[in-house]
Amino acid sequence: MRKKINWGRGLGITALVVYGIFILFPIYWTVNTSFKEIGDVYKVPPSFIPTRFILDAYRFIFQGTGRVALFNSLVVAAVSTAIAVVLGTMASYAYSRYPFTPLTNEGAQFNLLTVRMFPPIAFLLPIFWMWKRFGLLDTYFALIITYTAFNLPLAVWLLKGFMDALPRSIEEASYVDGYSFWQTVRRVVLPLIGSGLAATVALCWIFIWNEFIIAYLLGGRNVILYTAYLPSLRRGMRIMWNQIAALSVLAIIPSIIILVLFRKYLVKIYLRG
């Protein structure tokens, strides 16, 4: 008996393969370019597989401003995430457990979310002038505080979901056992939402790591983050594509790690809507 050709299946798998190539090609090409000498970048026909691994571009990034910029991004994102998650835990606990006071009712929660929905560039005009007035432009402080405020709604929104999923009876039992409020939070609530907390930290961190326009406008000279440093590599007579590619490859590595570690949470977070 002849087997019927399954057109739907064939089409579906072709679509997956084509889409996979579409997604992979720019990433592959960036890795490929980062190992080339600048003279080879523009060659026709292009070389698809690097024959020799030339590390000049990476050496340049690690010896110059690139290293400083990556380090700054790392520090700013880490400190700001830490503050945002601590404040976010406080706010989300209040939102989740006491949703009836003027500061924590639905209206207040909505107001916090509007901070997230306002386009950052619309905030940046007054924030820029505020930091300028205080003489704090181009400092770690201004960048960290600004990022914290921008990430707080995200942290609250994610954490509130994890808090809501935690039954109140557990906390009540811990009060009955004689734990104080802080003991309950520290020893019962936080350990129970531990993995959710970790996912929140990862997501907040990656958002700051990836952010561009705040880094570009509020930093740039003293405190340069890698996203703000990237465009400056394109100035000059000859665009050093291999260096840009090398910095891009380095910048993607944390994204890959976080994505692989927290892939299950991403699905969960979006399942909740």
């Binding site: 739907g8 720019p26 406080m90 905030f123 820029f128 002038w129 994505l259």
Partner: protein
Amino acid sequence: MFGKESKRIPKTPYYLMIPPQLLIWVVVIFPLLWAIYISFHDWNPTISPERTFVGLQNYINVFRDERFIGALLRMLYYSGVGVTIQLVLGTAIALALVEYVRSERLRTFLLVLFLLPMMMAEAVAAQMWTLLITDTGTINNILIWLGLNPIGWRSRELALTTIMIVDIWQWTALPLLIAYAARISIPESLYESSRLDGASKWLILRKITLPYMRVPLAIAFLLRFMDSYKFLDKVFIMTYGGPGTATELPTFYLYQTAFSYFKVGYGAAMSWIFGIIAVVGMFIFWRLAKAQ
């Protein structure tokens, strides 16, 4: 003891809310209020430190500004078409992934690969693609090598569409993820019983899968639409609004007004109009989420 308990409860949320509120007030609300004040003035600090009171003139000018209107129309094309493609493509890929990839491992691997663009910086994605699409870039090199004509990806006619393609490359992942999550939450028994009833695949897709995914997909559309309204990284890096104003989206025009021309009062008025549009969109989103 219980007396103490009942007194403690109403105070705790206030203590908890003070530090987060303080931060939001200092960094967000106070500057925004200042922006209202400055939006009633004409102030260009590069010309003179003097601020002249102009009333509502800035707001009126925004709506008369052809560049602003042009940017809004461009946004409608860029976001409307771009996000629709992201949604359709993302849903199709997610369904194909669930339907045709049996191996759990392979499916997870593909999902991670497909989500990767979403997790990296807009700025990095834009740089990676710029390497591909400049006139002497990789795609044109390959076209020449194949004996075809190179394409002016950053020409006046094509530039906005090129950025849209990069946006599709990066953000199809989000509707894909949401569609994937929605699809695997549909109980498998529904599919089995309809297969027993002899329903065709097309009918199952239309009558079961898509109705179930309607609300998550609507949310995905709004989320993406709002985001593409918010970001300017790709325009900034790939074309800097050009050639001419061919890729000038509202965010980028706002950036130009506020930080290149330093028309601060005018920029503040534009910021507010801009923000209010976003909040209205957000409100619709909130209602939709509630309805779910």
